[in-house]
Symmetry: none
Subunit: 256 residues, 2 copies
Protein backbone atom coordinates (compact mmCIF):
# COMPACT_ATOMS: atom_id res chain seq x y z
CA UNK A 1 0.00 0.00 0.00
CA UNK A 2 2.62 2.53 -1.02
CA UNK A 3 5.96 3.39 0.45
CA UNK A 4 6.18 4.00 4.20
CA UNK A 5 6.59 7.68 4.93
CA UNK A 6 8.32 9.15 7.96
CA UNK A 7 5.79 9.44 10.71
CA UNK A 8 5.92 11.98 13.49
CA UNK A 9 3.88 11.59 16.65
CA UNK A 10 0.48 13.25 16.21
CA UNK A 11 -0.05 16.57 17.98
CA UNK A 12 -2.80 15.07 20.12
CA UNK A 13 -2.01 11.46 21.07
CA UNK A 14 -5.64 10.34 21.39
CA UNK A 15 -6.70 7.43 23.60
CA UNK A 16 -3.90 5.35 25.10
CA UNK A 17 -3.48 1.85 23.68
CA UNK A 18 -2.47 -0.56 26.46
CA UNK A 19 -1.13 -4.01 25.55
CA UNK A 20 -1.19 -6.49 28.43
CA UNK A 21 1.73 -8.97 28.29
CA UNK A 22 2.23 -8.86 24.51
CA UNK A 23 4.26 -11.81 23.24
CA UNK A 24 5.44 -11.12 19.71
CA UNK A 25 7.59 -8.12 18.84
CA UNK A 26 6.14 -8.20 15.32
CA UNK A 27 2.69 -7.60 16.75
CA UNK A 28 3.88 -4.68 18.88
CA UNK A 29 5.47 -3.11 15.81
CA UNK A 30 2.34 -3.59 13.74
CA UNK A 31 0.29 -2.09 16.55
CA UNK A 32 2.49 1.02 16.47
CA UNK A 33 2.07 1.27 12.72
CA UNK A 34 -1.72 0.86 12.90
CA UNK A 35 -1.90 3.47 15.66
CA UNK A 36 0.04 6.04 13.68
CA UNK A 37 -1.99 5.24 10.54
CA UNK A 38 -5.00 6.39 12.55
CA UNK A 39 -3.36 9.31 14.34
CA UNK A 40 -2.80 7.69 17.76
CA UNK A 41 0.47 8.12 19.63
CA UNK A 42 0.21 6.87 23.24
CA UNK A 43 1.36 3.21 23.43
CA UNK A 44 1.73 1.50 26.81
CA UNK A 45 3.18 -1.98 27.27
CA UNK A 46 2.54 -4.14 30.33
CA UNK A 47 5.32 -6.68 30.91
CA UNK A 48 6.18 -7.44 27.27
CA UNK A 49 7.39 -11.06 27.18
CA UNK A 50 10.59 -10.43 25.24
CA UNK A 51 11.65 -7.25 27.05
CA UNK A 52 11.90 -3.75 25.70
CA UNK A 53 13.07 -2.30 23.34
CA UNK A 54 12.55 -5.11 20.82
CA UNK A 55 14.27 -5.10 17.39
CA UNK A 56 11.47 -7.18 15.85
CA UNK A 57 8.98 -4.52 16.86
CA UNK A 58 11.11 -1.86 15.19
CA UNK A 59 11.24 -3.76 11.92
CA UNK A 60 7.50 -4.43 11.91
CA UNK A 61 6.67 -0.79 12.68
CA UNK A 62 7.68 0.17 9.11
CA UNK A 63 8.46 3.75 10.02
CA UNK A 64 6.21 4.28 13.04
CA UNK A 65 9.37 4.65 15.13
CA UNK A 66 8.06 7.70 16.90
CA UNK A 67 5.30 5.64 18.54
CA UNK A 68 7.73 2.95 19.68
CA UNK A 69 10.19 5.54 20.98
CA UNK A 70 7.45 7.16 23.05
CA UNK A 71 6.06 3.85 24.36
CA UNK A 72 6.12 3.36 28.12
CA UNK A 73 6.53 0.04 29.94
CA UNK A 74 4.69 -0.91 33.14
CA UNK A 75 4.60 -3.95 35.41
CA UNK A 76 0.84 -4.20 35.76
CA UNK A 77 -2.29 -3.13 33.92
CA UNK A 78 -3.37 -1.14 36.96
CA UNK A 79 -0.19 0.93 36.80
CA UNK A 80 -0.49 1.43 33.07
CA UNK A 81 -4.04 2.73 33.47
CA UNK A 82 -3.47 4.66 36.69
CA UNK A 83 -3.78 8.16 35.19
CA UNK A 84 -6.75 7.37 32.93
CA UNK A 85 -10.28 8.52 33.68
CA UNK A 86 -11.97 6.18 31.20
CA UNK A 87 -10.90 2.70 30.23
CA UNK A 88 -12.38 0.21 27.78
CA UNK A 89 -11.25 -3.41 27.78
CA UNK A 90 -11.42 -5.60 24.69
CA UNK A 91 -12.59 -9.16 25.05
CA UNK A 92 -13.20 -11.90 22.52
CA UNK A 93 -16.05 -13.53 24.38
CA UNK A 94 -18.77 -12.63 26.84
CA UNK A 95 -17.71 -12.82 30.46
CA UNK A 96 -19.60 -13.41 33.66
CA UNK A 97 -19.68 -9.72 34.27
CA UNK A 98 -22.60 -7.39 34.31
CA UNK A 99 -21.01 -4.81 32.12
CA UNK A 100 -21.81 -2.68 29.08
CA UNK A 101 -20.47 -4.29 25.92
CA UNK A 102 -19.73 -1.94 23.03
CA UNK A 103 -19.02 -2.44 19.36
CA UNK A 104 -15.88 -0.69 18.07
CA UNK A 105 -18.05 1.95 16.40
CA UNK A 106 -20.01 2.71 19.54
CA UNK A 107 -16.79 2.63 21.58
CA UNK A 108 -15.27 5.21 19.24
CA UNK A 109 -18.25 7.51 19.72
CA UNK A 110 -17.90 7.19 23.50
CA UNK A 111 -14.15 7.81 23.37
CA UNK A 112 -14.74 10.92 21.27
CA UNK A 113 -17.26 12.35 23.68
CA UNK A 114 -15.06 11.62 26.67
CA UNK A 115 -12.06 13.21 24.95
CA UNK A 116 -14.14 16.26 24.07
CA UNK A 117 -15.06 16.55 27.73
CA UNK A 118 -11.33 16.65 28.54
CA UNK A 119 -11.17 13.17 30.01
CA UNK A 120 -8.14 10.93 29.56
CA UNK A 121 -9.07 7.62 27.92
CA UNK A 122 -7.52 4.30 27.06
CA UNK A 123 -8.28 0.94 25.52
CA UNK A 124 -6.86 -2.26 26.96
CA UNK A 125 -5.93 -5.30 24.85
CA UNK A 126 -5.05 -8.75 26.20
CA UNK A 127 -2.16 -10.97 25.19
CA UNK A 128 -2.22 -12.96 21.95
CA UNK A 129 -3.23 -16.25 23.57
CA UNK A 130 -4.85 -15.63 26.89
CA UNK A 131 -6.66 -12.34 26.76
CA UNK A 132 -7.28 -10.36 29.92
CA UNK A 133 -7.71 -11.56 33.49
CA UNK A 134 -10.99 -10.94 35.26
CA UNK A 135 -9.46 -8.47 37.70
CA UNK A 136 -8.06 -6.51 34.77
CA UNK A 137 -11.46 -6.40 33.10
CA UNK A 138 -12.84 -5.02 36.36
CA UNK A 139 -10.77 -1.87 35.87
CA UNK A 140 -12.74 -1.01 32.76
CA UNK A 141 -15.77 1.24 32.43
CA UNK A 142 -17.11 -0.95 29.64
CA UNK A 143 -16.12 -3.89 27.49
CA UNK A 144 -15.48 -3.79 23.76
CA UNK A 145 -16.08 -6.80 21.51
CA UNK A 146 -15.72 -7.20 17.78
CA UNK A 147 -18.90 -8.30 16.00
CA UNK A 148 -17.19 -10.73 13.63
CA UNK A 149 -17.65 -14.21 12.14
CA UNK A 150 -18.73 -16.31 15.16
CA UNK A 151 -17.09 -19.37 13.58
CA UNK A 152 -13.71 -17.63 13.38
CA UNK A 153 -13.51 -14.68 15.73
CA UNK A 154 -9.85 -14.81 16.75
CA UNK A 155 -8.38 -11.48 15.68
CA UNK A 156 -4.66 -10.84 15.45
CA UNK A 157 -3.62 -8.34 18.14
CA UNK A 158 -2.58 -5.64 15.69
CA UNK A 159 -5.79 -6.15 13.71
CA UNK A 160 -7.85 -5.63 16.87
CA UNK A 161 -5.96 -2.42 17.64
CA UNK A 162 -6.41 -1.26 14.04
CA UNK A 163 -10.18 -1.66 14.17
CA UNK A 164 -10.44 0.40 17.35
CA UNK A 165 -8.01 3.05 16.09
CA UNK A 166 -9.75 3.18 12.70
CA UNK A 167 -13.17 3.67 14.24
CA UNK A 168 -11.70 6.40 16.46
CA UNK A 169 -10.26 8.18 13.44
CA UNK A 170 -13.46 7.83 11.40
CA UNK A 171 -15.56 9.18 14.24
CA UNK A 172 -13.50 12.36 14.24
CA UNK A 173 -13.29 13.33 10.62
CA UNK A 174 -15.69 14.62 8.10
CA UNK A 175 -14.16 13.01 5.03
CA UNK A 176 -16.85 12.68 2.41
CA UNK A 177 -17.61 9.02 1.78
CA UNK A 178 -17.39 9.59 -1.90
CA UNK A 179 -15.80 12.14 -4.14
CA UNK A 180 -14.79 12.41 -7.76
CA UNK A 181 -11.14 13.15 -8.40
CA UNK A 182 -11.17 15.77 -11.10
CA UNK A 183 -7.59 16.80 -11.64
CA UNK A 184 -7.68 17.82 -15.19
CA UNK A 185 -10.97 19.23 -16.19
CA UNK A 186 -14.26 20.70 -15.06
CA UNK A 187 -17.39 18.58 -15.34
CA UNK A 188 -19.12 19.07 -18.67
CA UNK A 189 -22.13 21.32 -18.58
CA UNK A 190 -25.46 19.77 -19.46
CA UNK A 191 -25.35 21.76 -22.69
CA UNK A 192 -21.97 20.39 -23.66
CA UNK A 193 -23.08 16.84 -22.98
CA UNK A 194 -26.35 17.37 -24.80
CA UNK A 195 -24.60 18.78 -27.85
CA UNK A 196 -22.39 15.73 -28.03
CA UNK A 197 -25.32 13.33 -27.62
CA UNK A 198 -27.36 15.15 -30.26
CA UNK A 199 -24.45 14.96 -32.64
CA UNK A 200 -23.92 11.25 -31.93
CA UNK A 201 -27.61 10.56 -32.56
CA UNK A 202 -27.46 12.52 -35.79
CA UNK A 203 -24.50 10.49 -36.99
CA UNK A 204 -26.21 7.25 -35.99
CA UNK A 205 -29.35 8.32 -37.82
CA UNK A 206 -27.29 9.07 -40.89
CA UNK A 207 -25.63 5.67 -40.62
CA UNK A 208 -28.94 3.85 -40.35
CA UNK A 209 -28.32 2.67 -36.78
CA UNK A 210 -31.94 3.06 -35.71
CA UNK A 211 -33.41 0.51 -38.04
CA UNK A 212 -36.66 -0.03 -36.18
CA UNK A 213 -38.41 3.35 -35.93
CA UNK A 214 -40.55 2.41 -32.91
CA UNK A 215 -37.40 1.57 -30.96
CA UNK A 216 -35.53 4.74 -31.83
CA UNK A 217 -36.60 6.72 -28.76
CA UNK A 218 -35.77 3.90 -26.34
CA UNK A 219 -32.40 3.19 -27.87
CA UNK A 220 -31.43 6.85 -27.95
CA UNK A 221 -32.51 7.21 -24.34
CA UNK A 222 -30.41 4.22 -23.28
CA UNK A 223 -27.33 5.66 -24.96
CA UNK A 224 -27.95 8.98 -23.24
CA UNK A 225 -28.35 7.27 -19.87
CA UNK A 226 -25.05 5.50 -20.30
CA UNK A 227 -23.11 8.68 -20.98
CA UNK A 228 -24.97 10.67 -18.35
CA UNK A 229 -24.10 8.05 -15.75
CA UNK A 230 -20.42 8.46 -16.57
CA UNK A 231 -20.72 12.18 -15.73
CA UNK A 232 -18.01 13.16 -18.21
CA UNK A 233 -15.74 16.13 -17.78
CA UNK A 234 -15.61 18.88 -20.40
CA UNK A 235 -12.29 17.43 -21.56
CA UNK A 236 -13.83 14.00 -21.94
CA UNK A 237 -16.73 15.34 -23.98
CA UNK A 238 -14.17 16.92 -26.24
CA UNK A 239 -12.37 13.56 -26.51
CA UNK A 240 -15.67 11.85 -27.35
CA UNK A 241 -16.25 14.35 -30.14
CA UNK A 242 -12.81 13.44 -31.42
CA UNK A 243 -13.59 9.73 -31.26
CA UNK A 244 -16.75 10.17 -33.32
CA UNK A 245 -14.99 12.48 -35.77
CA UNK A 246 -12.23 9.98 -36.36
CA UNK A 247 -14.55 7.05 -36.80
CA UNK A 248 -16.70 8.85 -39.36
CA UNK A 249 -13.96 11.16 -40.61
CA UNK A 250 -11.99 8.26 -41.93
CA UNK A 251 -15.12 7.27 -43.83
CA UNK A 252 -15.35 10.74 -45.31
CA UNK A 253 -11.70 10.68 -46.25
CA UNK A 254 -12.26 7.22 -47.69
CA UNK A 255 -15.14 8.57 -49.67
CA UNK A 256 -13.31 11.60 -51.01
CA UNK B 1 -7.31 -12.12 21.29
CA UNK B 2 -8.23 -15.63 22.36
CA UNK B 3 -7.38 -19.01 20.94
CA UNK B 4 -7.78 -19.50 17.17
CA UNK B 5 -10.78 -21.66 16.42
CA UNK B 6 -11.18 -23.91 13.40
CA UNK B 7 -12.63 -21.86 10.61
CA UNK B 8 -14.73 -23.26 7.80
CA UNK B 9 -15.34 -21.33 4.62
CA UNK B 10 -18.43 -19.15 4.97
CA UNK B 11 -21.57 -20.35 3.16
CA UNK B 12 -21.53 -17.25 0.95
CA UNK B 13 -17.98 -16.19 0.05
CA UNK B 14 -18.75 -12.47 -0.31
CA UNK B 15 -16.70 -10.16 -2.52
CA UNK B 16 -13.49 -11.61 -3.96
CA UNK B 17 -10.27 -10.24 -2.49
CA UNK B 18 -7.62 -9.98 -5.22
CA UNK B 19 -3.98 -9.46 -4.23
CA UNK B 20 -1.79 -8.24 -7.10
CA UNK B 21 1.77 -9.59 -6.88
CA UNK B 22 1.86 -10.03 -3.08
CA UNK B 23 5.40 -10.34 -1.75
CA UNK B 24 5.32 -11.68 1.81
CA UNK B 25 3.72 -14.99 2.67
CA UNK B 26 3.04 -13.65 6.16
CA UNK B 27 0.84 -10.96 4.68
CA UNK B 28 -1.09 -13.44 2.54
CA UNK B 29 -1.73 -15.55 5.62
CA UNK B 30 -2.87 -12.57 7.64
CA UNK B 31 -5.12 -11.52 4.77
CA UNK B 32 -6.77 -14.96 4.86
CA UNK B 33 -7.26 -14.67 8.61
CA UNK B 34 -8.74 -11.17 8.36
CA UNK B 35 -11.06 -12.31 5.57
CA UNK B 36 -12.40 -15.24 7.56
CA UNK B 37 -12.75 -13.04 10.65
CA UNK B 38 -15.17 -10.98 8.58
CA UNK B 39 -16.88 -13.85 6.79
CA UNK B 40 -15.14 -13.60 3.41
CA UNK B 41 -13.89 -16.70 1.57
CA UNK B 42 -12.85 -15.90 -2.03
CA UNK B 43 -9.11 -15.12 -2.16
CA UNK B 44 -7.39 -14.65 -5.52
CA UNK B 45 -3.62 -14.24 -5.90
CA UNK B 46 -2.01 -12.67 -8.94
CA UNK B 47 1.57 -13.85 -9.45
CA UNK B 48 2.57 -14.21 -5.78
CA UNK B 49 6.31 -13.46 -5.62
CA UNK B 50 7.31 -16.57 -3.65
CA UNK B 51 5.08 -19.06 -5.47
CA UNK B 52 2.12 -20.95 -4.15
CA UNK B 53 1.39 -22.67 -1.79
CA UNK B 54 3.53 -20.83 0.74
CA UNK B 55 4.31 -22.29 4.20
CA UNK B 56 4.73 -18.81 5.70
CA UNK B 57 1.21 -17.94 4.63
CA UNK B 58 -0.09 -21.08 6.31
CA UNK B 59 1.58 -20.23 9.60
CA UNK B 60 0.33 -16.64 9.56
CA UNK B 61 -3.24 -17.67 8.75
CA UNK B 62 -3.65 -18.98 12.33
CA UNK B 63 -6.38 -21.41 11.40
CA UNK B 64 -7.88 -19.76 8.34
CA UNK B 65 -6.63 -22.73 6.30
CA UNK B 66 -9.91 -23.08 4.47
CA UNK B 67 -9.41 -19.69 2.81
CA UNK B 68 -5.86 -20.51 1.73
CA UNK B 69 -6.90 -23.94 0.44
CA UNK B 70 -9.61 -22.34 -1.70
CA UNK B 71 -7.36 -19.54 -2.98
CA UNK B 72 -6.86 -19.40 -6.74
CA UNK B 73 -3.72 -18.17 -8.51
CA UNK B 74 -3.74 -16.13 -11.74
CA UNK B 75 -1.08 -14.63 -13.99
CA UNK B 76 -2.69 -11.22 -14.42
CA UNK B 77 -5.17 -8.99 -12.65
CA UNK B 78 -7.39 -9.05 -15.74
CA UNK B 79 -7.66 -12.84 -15.53
CA UNK B 80 -8.32 -12.76 -11.80
CA UNK B 81 -11.17 -10.28 -12.33
CA UNK B 82 -12.50 -11.72 -15.57
CA UNK B 83 -15.75 -13.14 -14.16
CA UNK B 84 -16.54 -10.17 -11.92
CA UNK B 85 -19.24 -7.65 -12.74
CA UNK B 86 -18.08 -5.04 -10.22
CA UNK B 87 -14.53 -4.25 -9.20
CA UNK B 88 -13.10 -1.72 -6.74
CA UNK B 89 -9.37 -0.95 -6.69
CA UNK B 90 -7.59 0.31 -3.59
CA UNK B 91 -5.04 3.07 -3.97
CA UNK B 92 -2.98 4.99 -1.48
CA UNK B 93 -2.94 8.24 -3.38
CA UNK B 94 -4.99 10.17 -5.90
CA UNK B 95 -4.26 9.35 -9.50
CA UNK B 96 -4.63 11.34 -12.67
CA UNK B 97 -7.85 9.57 -13.42
CA UNK B 98 -11.33 10.94 -13.42
CA UNK B 99 -12.82 8.26 -11.26
CA UNK B 100 -15.13 7.88 -8.27
CA UNK B 101 -13.17 7.56 -5.02
CA UNK B 102 -14.89 5.80 -2.15
CA UNK B 103 -14.16 5.46 1.55
CA UNK B 104 -14.16 1.89 2.88
CA UNK B 105 -17.56 2.53 4.46
CA UNK B 106 -19.16 3.78 1.28
CA UNK B 107 -17.46 0.99 -0.67
CA UNK B 108 -18.98 -1.56 1.69
CA UNK B 109 -22.44 -0.11 1.14
CA UNK B 110 -21.96 -0.29 -2.62
CA UNK B 111 -20.65 -3.87 -2.42
CA UNK B 112 -23.67 -4.87 -0.34
CA UNK B 113 -26.15 -3.41 -2.77
CA UNK B 114 -24.39 -5.01 -5.74
CA UNK B 115 -24.30 -8.38 -3.99
CA UNK B 116 -28.00 -8.10 -3.13
CA UNK B 117 -28.69 -7.50 -6.81
CA UNK B 118 -26.90 -10.79 -7.56
CA UNK B 119 -23.79 -9.20 -9.03
CA UNK B 120 -20.34 -10.70 -8.58
CA UNK B 121 -17.95 -8.24 -6.91
CA UNK B 122 -14.31 -7.96 -5.98
CA UNK B 123 -11.78 -5.64 -4.40
CA UNK B 124 -8.27 -5.34 -5.77
CA UNK B 125 -5.18 -4.63 -3.63
CA UNK B 126 -1.72 -3.75 -4.92
CA UNK B 127 1.60 -5.17 -3.83
CA UNK B 128 3.24 -4.11 -0.56
CA UNK B 129 5.64 -1.63 -2.13
CA UNK B 130 4.40 -0.59 -5.50
CA UNK B 131 0.63 -0.63 -5.48
CA UNK B 132 -1.32 -1.09 -8.67
CA UNK B 133 -0.41 -0.21 -12.23
CA UNK B 134 -2.51 2.31 -14.07
CA UNK B 135 -3.88 -0.25 -16.50
CA UNK B 136 -4.96 -2.37 -13.54
CA UNK B 137 -6.76 0.57 -11.95
CA UNK B 138 -8.56 1.01 -15.24
CA UNK B 139 -10.36 -2.29 -14.75
CA UNK B 140 -12.14 -0.90 -11.71
CA UNK B 141 -15.56 0.69 -11.50
CA UNK B 142 -14.32 2.96 -8.72
CA UNK B 143 -11.32 3.54 -6.49
CA UNK B 144 -11.16 2.99 -2.75
CA UNK B 145 -8.85 4.99 -0.49
CA UNK B 146 -8.37 4.91 3.25
CA UNK B 147 -8.96 8.26 4.97
CA UNK B 148 -6.06 7.96 7.42
CA UNK B 149 -3.30 10.06 8.96
CA UNK B 150 -1.91 11.99 5.96
CA UNK B 151 1.52 12.07 7.61
CA UNK B 152 1.62 8.27 7.85
CA UNK B 153 -0.80 6.66 5.48
CA UNK B 154 1.11 3.51 4.52
CA UNK B 155 -1.12 0.62 5.59
CA UNK B 156 0.11 -2.94 5.87
CA UNK B 157 -1.53 -5.08 3.16
CA UNK B 158 -3.41 -7.29 5.60
CA UNK B 159 -4.57 -4.23 7.53
CA UNK B 160 -5.95 -2.72 4.33
CA UNK B 161 -7.84 -5.92 3.56
CA UNK B 162 -9.12 -6.04 7.14
CA UNK B 163 -10.61 -2.55 6.95
CA UNK B 164 -12.49 -3.39 3.74
CA UNK B 165 -13.64 -6.78 5.03
CA UNK B 166 -14.65 -5.27 8.38
CA UNK B 167 -16.73 -2.55 6.76
CA UNK B 168 -18.33 -5.19 4.55
CA UNK B 169 -19.27 -7.25 7.59
CA UNK B 170 -20.58 -4.23 9.49
CA UNK B 171 -22.64 -3.09 6.53
CA UNK B 172 -24.43 -6.44 6.58
CA UNK B 173 -25.64 -5.99 10.13
CA UNK B 174 -28.00 -3.20 9.19
CA UNK B 175 -30.26 -2.82 6.21
CA UNK B 176 -28.59 -0.50 3.71
CA UNK B 177 -30.16 2.94 3.41
CA UNK B 178 -29.96 2.88 -0.30
CA UNK B 179 -30.12 0.24 -2.96
CA UNK B 180 -29.06 0.34 -6.54
CA UNK B 181 -31.93 -0.25 -8.91
CA UNK B 182 -30.82 -2.77 -11.49
CA UNK B 183 -33.35 -3.59 -14.14
CA UNK B 184 -33.42 -5.95 -17.06
CA UNK B 185 -29.77 -6.41 -17.91
CA UNK B 186 -26.80 -7.67 -15.93
CA UNK B 187 -23.67 -5.56 -15.65
CA UNK B 188 -21.08 -6.34 -18.27
CA UNK B 189 -18.26 -8.55 -17.06
CA UNK B 190 -14.77 -7.06 -17.08
CA UNK B 191 -13.98 -9.25 -20.07
CA UNK B 192 -16.94 -7.95 -22.07
CA UNK B 193 -16.04 -4.36 -21.30
CA UNK B 194 -12.38 -4.94 -22.03
CA UNK B 195 -13.16 -6.53 -25.38
CA UNK B 196 -15.19 -3.50 -26.36
CA UNK B 197 -12.49 -1.07 -25.25
CA UNK B 198 -9.79 -3.01 -27.06
CA UNK B 199 -11.88 -2.96 -30.21
CA UNK B 200 -12.53 0.77 -29.89
CA UNK B 201 -8.83 1.45 -29.43
CA UNK B 202 -8.03 -0.69 -32.44
CA UNK B 203 -10.49 1.25 -34.58
CA UNK B 204 -9.13 4.55 -33.31
CA UNK B 205 -5.60 3.41 -34.06
CA UNK B 206 -6.66 2.47 -37.56
CA UNK B 207 -8.30 5.86 -37.98
CA UNK B 208 -5.20 7.71 -36.83
CA UNK B 209 -6.85 9.12 -33.70
CA UNK B 210 -3.70 8.86 -31.59
CA UNK B 211 -1.62 11.33 -33.52
CA UNK B 212 0.95 12.02 -30.79
CA UNK B 213 2.53 8.67 -29.85
CA UNK B 214 3.65 9.84 -26.39
CA UNK B 215 0.08 10.73 -25.52
CA UNK B 216 -1.44 7.48 -26.74
CA UNK B 217 -1.34 5.68 -23.38
CA UNK B 218 -2.85 8.60 -21.48
CA UNK B 219 -5.58 9.19 -24.01
CA UNK B 220 -6.51 5.51 -24.16
CA UNK B 221 -6.57 5.39 -20.37
CA UNK B 222 -8.85 8.39 -20.15
CA UNK B 223 -11.29 6.82 -22.57
CA UNK B 224 -11.25 3.62 -20.55
CA UNK B 225 -11.84 5.51 -17.30
CA UNK B 226 -14.87 7.18 -18.81
CA UNK B 227 -16.52 3.92 -19.84
CA UNK B 228 -15.54 2.09 -16.66
CA UNK B 229 -17.14 4.86 -14.64
CA UNK B 230 -20.39 4.38 -16.50
CA UNK B 231 -20.42 0.71 -15.37
CA UNK B 232 -22.29 -0.40 -18.49
CA UNK B 233 -24.61 -3.36 -18.55
CA UNK B 234 -23.99 -6.26 -20.92
CA UNK B 235 -26.80 -4.90 -23.10
CA UNK B 236 -25.16 -1.47 -23.18
CA UNK B 237 -21.80 -2.90 -24.21
CA UNK B 238 -23.60 -4.64 -27.03
CA UNK B 239 -25.18 -1.30 -28.00
CA UNK B 240 -21.77 0.37 -27.92
CA UNK B 241 -20.41 -2.28 -30.26
CA UNK B 242 -23.31 -1.47 -32.56
CA UNK B 243 -22.57 2.25 -32.38
CA UNK B 244 -18.95 1.71 -33.38
CA UNK B 245 -19.93 -0.73 -36.11
CA UNK B 246 -22.35 1.73 -37.62
CA UNK B 247 -19.94 4.62 -37.49
CA UNK B 248 -17.15 2.71 -39.19
CA UNK B 249 -19.49 0.48 -41.19
CA UNK B 250 -20.87 3.53 -42.91
CA UNK B 251 -17.32 4.46 -43.74
CA UNK B 252 -16.69 1.03 -45.18
CA UNK B 253 -19.89 1.15 -47.20
CA UNK B 254 -18.95 4.65 -48.33
CA UNK B 255 -15.60 3.35 -49.46
CA UNK B 256 -16.98 0.37 -51.32
Amino acid sequence: MGRPNKGQLPDAPGPAIILARPQLGENIGMVARAMLNCGLGDLRLVAPRDGWPNPKAERAASGADSVLAAARVFDTVAEAAADLERLLATTARDRDLVQRVLSPRRAAADLRSWAEAGQSCGVLFGAERNGLKNDELMLADALLTFPLNPAFSSLNLSQAVLLVAYEWSQAGIETPDERLVVNISKPATKTELDEFLARLEGELDAAGFFRVPEKRATMARNIRALFARAAPTAQEVSTLHGVVSELIGKRKRGKA
